[in-house]
Amino acid sequence: MTTLKTFKRGGVHPAENKISANQPIVVLDPPKQAFIPLNQNLGAPAIPLIKKGDEVKVGQLIAKGEAFISSNVHSSVSGKVLKIDAVIDTSGYKKMAVVINVEGDEWEPSIDRSETIKRDFSFTQKEIIDKIKEMGIVGLGGATFPSHVKLMIPDGKKPEVLLINGVECEPYLTSDHQLMMSNGEEALIGTSILMKGLGVKKAYIGIENNKPDAISYLKELAEGFKGIKVVPLKVKYPQGGEKQLIKAVTGREVPSGKLPIEVGAVVNNVGTAFAVYQAIQKNKPLVERVVTVTGKSVAKPSNFLARIGTPISILIDNAGGVPEDTGKIISGGPMMGKALLSLETPVVKGTSGILIMNKQETHRVEMLPCIRCGRCVSVCPMGLEPILLSQLSRLQMWEDVEKQKVMDCIECGSCQYTCPSGRPLLDYIRVGKNKVGQIIRNRGKK
């Protein structure tokens, strides 16, 4: 047997805990009231087009992304707009959102809701990019970078290969896995659309080999598609990181501070590929996504297809309610996810999973002195020195933090996971990264 590909530097292997792996996707009904945030992408928020009291249908454009890095927002439910107001988001701060009282489930007539799979498409490159922009597609891996911006290649650069991220390296999460199992063919058609949009001939789908069923299923399907190849990868966190995936699949290393296009690669999540298929072939904007609800104490760990704007409490109720010994509820996976402050926060385009951790799991160990073992340095996938960065950030030596390439940190949390002294390395690095980011932006203004 040949050895499986993976990235070389660093990485950890946390317990996978993919409890909800074999749960098929359950379609959730629209909620009674939907909260649709105006800023669901990385970049500038969208400008609302509707006002209080308007009737909206599912798929109707309700806010337009005017800025370059911004994306459209569509209504995910039908009903009456109650208000456009500040609603609490995952961080506890309030962000503008459209609140819609749901009445019935009436879709825009232009959307094709049939189950039939349409394989052929005859759009030009520009039409594909425009359509993706119009339909509000963003990267569904979690970073929510607007997809059409990714397809607009800067002058002088030439994409050579498209990578589809089906790695799902975060423990617990299974939404991409289930999506590949149930909508594999659509995802592959989406991949070929993205290939056309980029003008590349080759695409690789990277999947970790803890999902053997998905690998064999997609391998079988990929035979019918020209240029698409499935690459099984060794299980290692954070393989789903853009730069790690490029390194694992193509062996190329993205230089520090540069984008993947520098080495001729563009990475998209498998969920994004599926959303692109729906946008191009079915004329359906991004109004719903697969969300995993899981945790060791959860009664029914499940994968839901939920409308954007559904309060998270509804998802948890459908998975059997909040268990008694809950310590933390996290949006995303255990490594990079963020603890939720309120269960009324809505599902957004970037919500890949809801993880309910029990009190024992969330207990922070006591912080002990650094024993200079160097484990954090050896596991850092970006080749940084986490202990140095965290100490410099703690001492507020921002210039040194910048020199030590804090901006390269992908915040994967491997260092903190591996630290035997329980030091909050990433927490401090985030402080430094945030501060240095501010300093760099201010420098740009002057």
Binding site: G92, K94, L341, D427, R430
Partner: protein, 311 residues
């Protein structure tokens, strides 16, 4: 043998003379002429090197002052917060100017979201720095503008003037404060403000920086400013402005009349170091008394006097 000694003495002396001439020449050529006033000004400064004036240290402050004076610019903006007016008068004398006295300032913490007023809803167990917590989330009480209570201001203070009260979980400023402004910069939420110390340390300020609407603000904290505007209406000096659902008292215009304090429905306006208010009945009785009598009272009851005059 003697020859060797004589030869050594002569050659060494010769080298010494040549070196002296060269050194003198170089010293003349590369002479740095420094204004002697810089030393004098620096001498007058407290040498705390705290950076409160906005310069890296006392020496830089002195240099900047002398530079401004020699360029015939005004030195109005220069202020040593540590030394106060005393030091600034000395500095002005050193450069041959007179100094106008500015009112002394003090740091004021504008949040009263203590454990009773703004109960905890979330358990935070991350690193104990406000900067990080502010990036991460809105705070244990849910107030997006309130004090996080993790003490970045305490760490930043060079003068031991601010500390976290363990009972309330909020920072408190004591009389050691020199208004250097380090805590103002350290606070990620702009809760701390430098305000005039006021006569007899009497100050009135809005103890809240929450910019949410009344309902959501009150939900998280019972003493939040709800932006009702009652204080704006009652203020006879137009000192209070309402912006983004938050009242602000301009210390320049405020005459410390205290009319706004009882008007506030949530008790967000604080008065410091004032004598206790008289009950309405007592007040009426006093008003009937001739003011001459009040003046005759002894020193022990002086605060009452003051209040009478102010009202």
């Amino acid at each position: 043998m003697n020859d060797v000694i004589i030869f050594s003495i002569i050659s060494l002396s010769a080298i010494g003379v040549v070196a002296a001439i060269v050194l003198y020449g170089v010293a003349q050529k590369f002479k740095v002429i420094e204004d002697p006033r810089i030393d004098v000004v620096e001498e007058a400064l407290p040498a705390a090197n705290c950076g409160g004036c906005g310069f890296a240290g006392c020496r830089n402050f002195a240099e900047a002052i002398v530079k401004a004076v020699s360029n015939e610019e005004s030195i109005d903006d220069f202020n040593c917060p540590v030394g106060g007016s005393e030091v600034m008068t000395k500095v002005a004398e050193a450069v041959g100017l007179t100094v106008e006295e500015k009112e002394p300032l003090i740091a004021v913490v504008r949040c009263n979201g203590n454990r009773a007023n703004a109960p905890k809803k979330i358990n935070y167990d991350g690193p104990a720095t406000c900067a990080f917590a502010h990036n991460l989330y809105s705070g244990e009480s849910g107030c997006p503008n309130g004090c996080l209570g993790l003490g970045d201001c305490v760490v930043s203070c060079q003068f031991d003037a601010i500390f976290i009260n363990p009972e309330t979980g909020l920072p408190e400023v004591n009389e050691k404060c020199v208004a250097c402004g380090a805590c103002v910069k350290a606070c990620p939420r702009n809760i701390i403000e430098l305000r005039p110390k006021g006569k007899k340390d009497r100050r009135i300020y809005v103890c809240c920086v929450n910019e949410e609407k009344g309902g959501p603000a009150k939900k998280n904290c019972s003493v939040a400013c709800i932006g009702c505007g009652k204080c704006v209406k009652v203020c006879p000096f137009d000192a209070i402005t309402l912006e983004n659902n938050l009242a602000y008292i301009d210390p320049e215009k405020c005459k410390l009349c205290r009319k706004c304090v009882p008007e506030c429905p949530t008790g967000a306006i604080h008065e410091l170091n004032f004598p206790p208010r008289k009950k309405p009945a007592e007040k009426k009785a006093e008003e009937k008394d001739p003011p001459v009598e009040a003046k005759d009272k002894t020193a022990a009851t002086k605060p009452k006097n003051e209040e009478n005059n102010e009202n």
